[in-house]
Symmetry: C2
Subunit: 310 residues, 2 copies
């Protein structure tokens, strides 16, 4: 029997990804939605999460899809009401609040899952497996996209806590921390802040690598043309290129096939992971991608660049 | 028999605090010093840590007192050489590197101690004990000092990674996270960056408190007059005022006495803690003060203010 789940915060990402993933899953039944602005067809809709939780005690899991700043209060209330919680990325506006949520979930015996959807792209597991045992010479992340295309008029992405270019950049860092066999930490970063915004629109990161590899990331949110979501690893035994955010893998320039067989997509995988975590009474809260973003904002040299308008 | 220890990075804090604390302790014997600029009387002096470690295999513990940015490489090398490590605050330039060090120390079976000297001030334990079971109405941190007095001409404190006003502010946060019974996280922060510096000279922090208390911090590094290092907690059962960075405690305006009896000072306490940790084969790496600083720099609204010169 499918587990009953409610979506809270029905914006673009919920409509584009969460609802189709849930509708296609035999493990889940979307049983309620909470949103101030949007109605989901075919399920009871609420504007207040507490009312939904009272009206639907059969809802075991709450999936939170609103922006990070308001998310803590919802997560805390859902845990207090005895529900398992799944968090869109990034898992919160602050590291401290996610630690608090993890402690609350542990004490309540509930599952908390801080999701990283990019880790579920088709070729991430294959890339991780290929890198095992190889010596990294260079590891180059290029993450360029157009914020106007992915977040049209969503001013919150540039507000304090919205993370700016690290909103997509944290996806790259979630893949990096998954596939790179060695622990890294930031050496230096340069951040470009539009003069009318609180968060950077581009970032250059330079990491320390324990075996002397060059590990860098070039993130840009003011990019025209096709999205570039690429990681290239030059090793002692060949070159790995992960393109399309993990959807395409090349080894020494040759496109790899097969690893994507049977995979159903990033968000279907996240919900399959959540079903397994709930069944196992486990949690998964890996904060490494967010730690690197915090480190970049802590260490960063700040340039002021021209104003950004939509 | 005292344990043999080496100091690495002999600057103002080592001369003012570490050396007197070690000289006064029967648990420790200062056996070597490493510094490019300073010579410590009465012990072998080196300019290179690796040479010191080779020449002094009897040195069990290395205490690192240099600024945070170069510290990781020394800590990693000391752990690789099988020595226990003690870190001045903040424990690193990035959160990620401290996680890496903690993992390395655990794997090597060595002690890592991320020290917070302000937690060892005379009345911090008494303040913590008094707050247990009380309801916080407001919790107000005021941390004002003159950077020209405490870090004369030390440009690194304003460089990326030097933390700016959070260099003293993290002392306040180390006390807050020790004595406040409830987990907090940042709601918002406002940071003032001098136009010629990479880190803030003042900061206003506003925290979420789980029971609705008002928790704020006002940090200023461009303060003339006496240092103000104060925490005031208004509770349902009276007012606690911790002054002088934890050295003086008032309850409802009445100066408390006695708690300081037998205490020997912040740095002697840190070294007593380290001796106990090594004896117990334990580590102590509490990153909460640094998490709050990273959160403040991640979430902060940035104002540009007038240039700072010494």
């Amino acid at each position: 029997m499918p587990r009953k789940i409610a979506l809270v915060g029905v914006g673009k990402i919920a409509v584009d990804q969460h609802i189709p993933a849930l509708n296609a899953s035999s493990e889940w039944e979307l049983s309620a939605a909470v949103s101030r602005n949007t109605v989901v067809d075919g399920v009871p809709n609420f504007t207040d999460m507490d009312e939904m939780l009272k009206a639907h005690p059969e809802v075991e899991v709450v999936s939170l899809c609103m922006p990070p700043v308001p998310r803590f209060a919802y997560a805390q209330a859902a845990i207090a009401a005895g529900r398992h919680v799944m968090l869109e990325k990034p898992p919160g506006a602050t590291l401290s609040e996610v630690h608090t949520l993890a402690d609350l979930a542990t004490k309540a015996g509930l599952t908390l899952y801080a999701t990283w959807h990019s880790r579920e792209a088709a070729f991430v597991k294959a890339a991780k497996a290929w890198l095992v045992g190889k010596t990294i010479k260079s590891f180059t992340v290029t993450w360029h996209e157009d914020v106007r295309k992915w977040h049209p008029n969503q001013d919150w992405v540039f507000e304090a806590g919205g993370m700016g270019v690290f909103d997509p950049g944290i996806n790259a860092l979630s893949i990096v921390t998954e596939i790179l066999p060695d622990p890294i930490h930031l050496k230096s970063s340069v951040l470009d802040f539009p003069e009318n915004r609180d968060t950077p629109i581009s970032a250059q990161l330079d990491f320390y690598h324990p075996h002397g590899g060059t590990v860098t990331a070039d993130m840009n949110w003011d990019h025209s043309g096709d999205d570039v979501w690429q990681i290239e690893a030059v090793t002692d035994a060949g070159v790995l290129t992960l393109k399309n955010g993990g959807g395409v893998l090349l080894i020494d320039g040759v496109v790899q096939t097969g690893a994507e067989d049977g995979l159903s997509g990033e968000y279907p995988n996240l919900y399959a992971n959540m079903a397994r975590l709930v069944a196992d009474a486990a949690s998964d809260v890996d904060l490494r991608p967010m730690l690197h973003v915090s480190d970049a904002l802590t260490l960063g040299k700040r340039n002021v660049v021209k104003a950004f308008d939509w």
